[in-house]
């Protein structure tokens, strides 16, 4: 018996299972492919534009809110002044009425 011949025959290459290569490829990290599309220039521009639009809308809403608050404060202040003036006028009229009443009683 020729042992070397028997070993060559017993150890000849065997075929890999069918679809072996496909199974290997299926196990290659899929995020590697999707990461490429995630970082594509078009997607980056779209993301930047969406972020800019959000920031602009938020800023506009904040400015409008601040304007409303300032206007309300101004109106509130004017009403206070008007009420104060009215109150002083009423007090003055009241004093004049009181003075004329006391003069007529004498």
């Amino acid at each position: 018996m020729n042992i070397e011949h028997e070993l060559q025959r017993a150890l000849r290459r065997k075929s890999a299972p069918p679809d072996f290569a496909d199974r290997v490829l299926a196990r290659i990290d899929p995020p590697a492919a999707s990461a490429a599309s995630r970082h594509s220039p078009v997607r980056q521009w779209l993301a930047a534009a969406a972020a800019a639009a959000l920031v602009a809308t938020g800023a506009a809403q904040y400015y409008a809110h601040q304007q409303t608050v300032a206007e309300a404060e101004r109106v509130n202040q004017e009403i206070r002044i008007a009420l104060q003036i009215t109150s002083e006028k009423i007090a003055l009229v009241q004093r004049k009425i009181d003075a004329s009443l006391s003069e007529s009683q004498r």
Binding site: M1, L7, Q8, R12, R13, A16, P17, L25, I28
Partner: protein
């Protein structure tokens, strides 16, 4: 397209080129694992892991020949690790244990199975040396490169392994 071009394209992210590399080497890698582990399922798992590692290592490979030797080396080391880690006992499958028949083909299959079972009794590194010598038909110096082993150690493994196999085959041949 030669193997260097295929490697260059695969390194550049061409999935089809990498698939070509897998198909070019799958028989070698799968057979090394099968002859070391004697289990088709374990051999396929290990071969898949080797190719996944190849994919991650593409940037470090310089040529098609480098890829081939890298695959031999990594497959061999992984097989040894696997055998040592699990104290792997060969999973003898039904189709790998043929009944001894009377036809020449049946006798051939029976003898082939016997050789493989005797081979599985060798220590892992000695078995790998024999598999690389007779499956891949590598010279002792090439095996030494693949396994980071002195050439004389390779020759010594070969000499002793052949002597053991010859003795066992002859003995069992008389007994059967």
């Amino acid at each position: 397209m030669d193997r260097d071009d295929t490697l260059a394209r695969a390194r550049g992210g061409d999935a089809a080129a990498f698939a070509t590399m897998v198909r070019q080497h799958q028989s070698m890698v799968f057979s090394l694992a099968l002859h070391m582990l004697r289990s088709r399922a374990a051999a396929e798992d290990l071969a898949q892991e080797v190719f996944l590692e190849l994919y991650r290592s593409l940037p470090r490979l310089e040529s098609g020949a480098h890829a081939t030797s890298w695959l031999r080396k990594v497959t061999g080391h992984r097989c040894i690790d696997e055998i040592r880690r699990r104290q792997h006992r060969p999973e003898l499958q039904v189709e790998e244990m043929p009944e001894r028949g009377t036809s020449p083909v049946a006798r051939e299959i029976f003898l082939e199975d016997r050789v493989q079972r005797l081979l599985a009794d060798l220590p892992a590194r000695a078995r790998l040396v024999v598999v690389l010598r007779f499956q891949e038909e590598l010279e002792p110096s090439e095996i030494a490169d693949a396994l980071d082993m002195p050439v004389n150690t390779v020759k010594s493994h070969l000499r002793r392994s052949l002597a053991v196999l010859r003795a066992k085959l002859t003995t069992r041949g008389r007994q059967v």
